[in-house]
């Protein structure tokens, strides 16, 4: 066992850190959009930054060189993800979905033409996908989805409704799961398609999220015609492709690094703030609370490191990823709630207030952290995966 990074990896970390210090735009820092707080302005800044990352090869560092990647080692990717998150670099959720799910799925299941058309552009930061998975009656039970894709001549015609489509109003393409065989059992008739969001027949209706921002959408497909060649992989085998994609490298390290920074800022606040004539840092309850957050975050970090290490050994984590996601989601909610207790009334204030402390990060996190144990597979679904895949408990 060896818990340290190599010298070469440490040099890489310093290089990333230095680059980020120079390249994160000032305007982004002023806008300071947290998770689920993006606006059109911040989205534009993020896309510009993502292209810069793409030029460095750091947007999709894992990809083969022929697709614009660096074939970077798993440990260096871990370091990169950690530094990007810690520095609060402009990266949207959707770019991660695009880079970590969509393109690897295309590389695994797609045609040569699809690989050529999309993967390199994704690695450059030129195109972004939104996910067309959830529907009003298909959330955790995703395989119940009803959106139809019917083969007609050289095309598929799509009808149905998707929901919780994050940044669908800003994305270039949709990675759509639709039913191609309504008579097969629910897992057997699903296929995956690439849909250009500018295709006629697509209507987008905003859903305003809990932070009062437009991040989600309902997306309606009314006789949307797409070329047949936009089917990815095998017809009716989409569910299995989708399940394999769930096991792609999905790291919670970004969350752990984000949370690490919040904890450090809370510690700083406790040291600098006096209440009733005493620094908050002298209060044993507050010391205990902050220490517990640090303990939990360290556990979360080790769980995330474990995933990268397993990949580096050629192992394929599955339930281990679920563990790390469930764990960090709960640590982040705990951090937000503990932060509120430490900040007291000041924790309630939003960014615009002159009295706000810590850039109102805690109150924003109190809201945004609710999504982390829900989106991308709820904590209950993740626990089912841990129990069934990890511990081999019976389904029935």
């Amino acid at each position: 066992m060896d818990f340290k990074f190599t010298e070469d990896e440490e040099v890489f970390r310093r290089e990333v850190r230095q680059w980020l210090e120079q390249e994160i735009p000032q305007r982004w820092i002023e806008l300071d959009p947290g998770i689920w707080e993006e606006t059109e302005e911040s989205w534009a800044l993020a896309r510009e930054f993502q292209r810069k990352l793409g030029e460095k090869g750091w947007l999709a560092p894992a990809y083969p060189k022929e697709y614009g990647g660096l074939e970077l080692s798993h440990m260096k990717r871990l370091i990169l993800a950690e530094e990007l998150a810690y520095s609060r670099a402009p990266l949207s959720i959707e770019v991660e979905v695009t880079v970590n799910w969509v393109a690897p799925s295309i590389m695994l299941f797609g045609t040569e033409k699809q690989k050529k058309d999309y993967v390199t552009s994704i690695a450059k930061g030129d195109i972004i996908f939104c996910l067309g998975y959830s529907e009003p009656n298909a959330g955790s039970d995703l395989a119940s989805l009803q959106t139809r894709a019917v083969e007609v001549g050289d095309e598929y015609v799509i009808n149905g409704q998707k929901t919780w489509c994050s940044y669908g109003h800003l994305a270039d393409y949709c990675w759509l799961a639709a039913r191609t065989d309504p008579y097969a059992s629910k897992h057997e008739g699903i296929s995956i398609f690439i849909v250009d969001m500018k295709t006629p027949g697509i209507t987008i209706r905003p859903l305003i999220n809990i932070l009062n921002r437009h991040s989600f959408n309902e997306v309606f497909f009314d006789d949307v015609h797409i070329p047949k060649e936009n089917l990815v992989g095998q017809k009716n085998k989409g569910w299995y492709q989708l399940m394999i994609a769930l096991d792609f490298e999905r790291s919670s390290i970004g969350y752990a690094a984000t949370n690490q920074r919040i904890i450090e800022e809370l510690i700083k606040y406790a040291k600098e703030t006096t209440r009733n004539g005493e620094p908050l840092a002298n209060d044993p309850l507050i010391r205990n609370e902050l220490a517990q957050l640090a303990v939990e975050n360290e556990v979360a970090r080790m769980m995330a490191y474990r995933i990268a290490w397993m990949f580096s050994k050629g192992l394929h984590p599955s339930y281990e990823s679920s563990m790390s996601m469930v764990f960090i989601s709960e640590v982040m909610r705990h951090t937000a709630n503990a932060g509120m207790r430490i900040l007291g009334h000041y924790g309630e204030l939003d960014k615009d207030s002159k009295w706000a402390v810590m850039d109102a990060r805690i109150m924003r996190m109190c809201l945004s952290s609710l999504s982390i144990g829900v989106g991308g597979g709820s904590n209950e679904i993740q626990r089912n995966i841990i129990a069934i895949r990890g511990l081999d408990l019976p389904r029935k």
Binding site: K271, R287, A291, R306, S312, M323, I386, A387
Partner: protein
């Protein structure tokens, strides 16, 4: 970074598990829990033959010169199986302390005997204040006739009832700094004035009250330097803390395995209870606790093994372990239901261990206070 065990460690782990399954069945664990000695000399000597006692001692002391990390692996397995007896107090608390701070003569005298299974040690640190800070060391050692006379009461002393020698932490000087003036003495447990009384405890581990009633020891019995013993104690506590965490990893894993196996077999409402989501989610939480516990424990052990400053990682590991092991055994009890509430069933052995382990070397609150300090609060 490599979070896996080496091939040798995997072998050690497997051979330890196989050996203990065969040689230390739960029947024996119960027997030893119930008798006053708390260990089997037959098992003890077999463990010594396997080289366990001398695992981390250099070869010149008849050890095999393996790393602290290797010992961590072994302790995890001992925790998995629950091995009653004075291994922890002899090797971790006693042997490692002599190895780090003892004179060459002391090492030559004690370590080979420990390695051969011929010597049992105990560390008498805590007193009625029941705390791990220097200020609560009130037992006094007064210089007399070229030697020392020790007087005081030690409490919660592990395995002193069967120890050949007791490392006694005593005060040799009173200053304003409680960490100054502490000295460690190697006391023959048969010395006149040493009185050991077994305490009846929840885990039925052999904790003792040890009264030192004007016990005479020689100058040569000092481990390390006179008055400068606290830094040795601190080092010993650090190793002991991570070693205890390693046992806790094993114990938590065992409780998880037992509960999961039971959940697969126990049928209610016509199906295994492990197919119910409530039970599945208990098990998932337990598995997360165990996984987290294992990695932070090994991180702390690695730091100790590499000689890196381990204070923060140790405190993090024990803070987490203290609560996680308890949660895991509690959930296991919930899954076992009524059968777990019997002396016949094995799960209570782990529940008891978890409670004792939670407290020894500082509970979660104690460790979090260290974490806070280490974080600059």
């Amino acid at each position: 970074m490599d979070l896996g065990l080496s091939e040798e460690q995997e072998m050690l782990k497997k051979s330890a598990r196989d050996f203990l399954q065969k040689e230390c069945p739960k029947r024996l664990v119960r027997q030893l829990d119930e008798n006053d000695e708390g260990y089997s000399s037959e098992l003890w000597h077999k463990m010594a033959e396997l080289g366990w006692m001398g695992l981390v001692f250099p070869e010149k002391y008849e050890g095999s010169g393996d790393s602290f990390l290797d010992l961590t692996v072994l302790l995890e397995e001992m925790g998995y199986n629950i091995v009653p007896g004075p291994f922890f107090s002899t090797v971790v608390l006693g042997g490692l302390t002599i190895l780090v701070a003892g004179s060459e003569d002391q090492k030559m005298e004690f370590l080979p005997k420990i390695a051969r299974g011929e010597m049992i040690l105990s560390l008498a640190l805590t007193e009625p204040a029941a705390s791990y800070d220097a200020a609560s060391v009130k037992t006094k050692a007064t210089a007399r006739d070229g030697g020392y006379v020790i007087k005081g009461t030690k409490l919660f002393v592990l395995n002193a009832n069967v120890a050949d020698y007791i490392l006694c932490v005593a005060r040799t000087k009173e200053t304003n700094n409680p960490e100054d003036g502490i000295t460690i003495f190697l006391v023959d447990a048969k010395s006149p004035g040493v009185k050991c009384t077994l305490l009846k405890t929840l885990a039925r581990d052999k904790q003792c009250e040890v009264v030192f009633d004007n016990v005479t020891v020689s100058e040569k019995s000092i481990v390390g330097k006179r008055d400068e013993g606290w830094s040795i104690v601190k080092g010993a506590l650090q190793k002991a803390t991570v070693a205890k965490c390693a046992e806790m990893v094993g114990g938590a894993q065992a409780a998880l395995d037992m509960a999961v196996n039971y959940a697969k077999e126990r049928v209610q409402f016509g199906r295994p209870i492990g197919s119910f989501q409530a039970i599945q989610h208990y098990c998932a939480n337990m598995a997360m606790d165990v996984a987290g516990l294992r990695f932070i424990t090994y991180k702390a052990a690695w730091k100790v093994s590499e000689g890196l400053p381990p204070a923060l990682d140790l405190a993090i590991a024990k803070a987490w372990a203290s609560e996680a092991y308890g949660r895991v055994t509690l959930s296991a009890h919930q899954i076992f239901g009524a059968i777990g509430f019997t002396m016949d069933h094995d799960i209570h052995l782990y529940y008891r261990q978890a409670k004792a382990a939670e407290i020894i070397f500082g509970d979660a609150d104690f460790q979090r206070a260290i974490v806070a300090r280490e974080l600059g609060l």
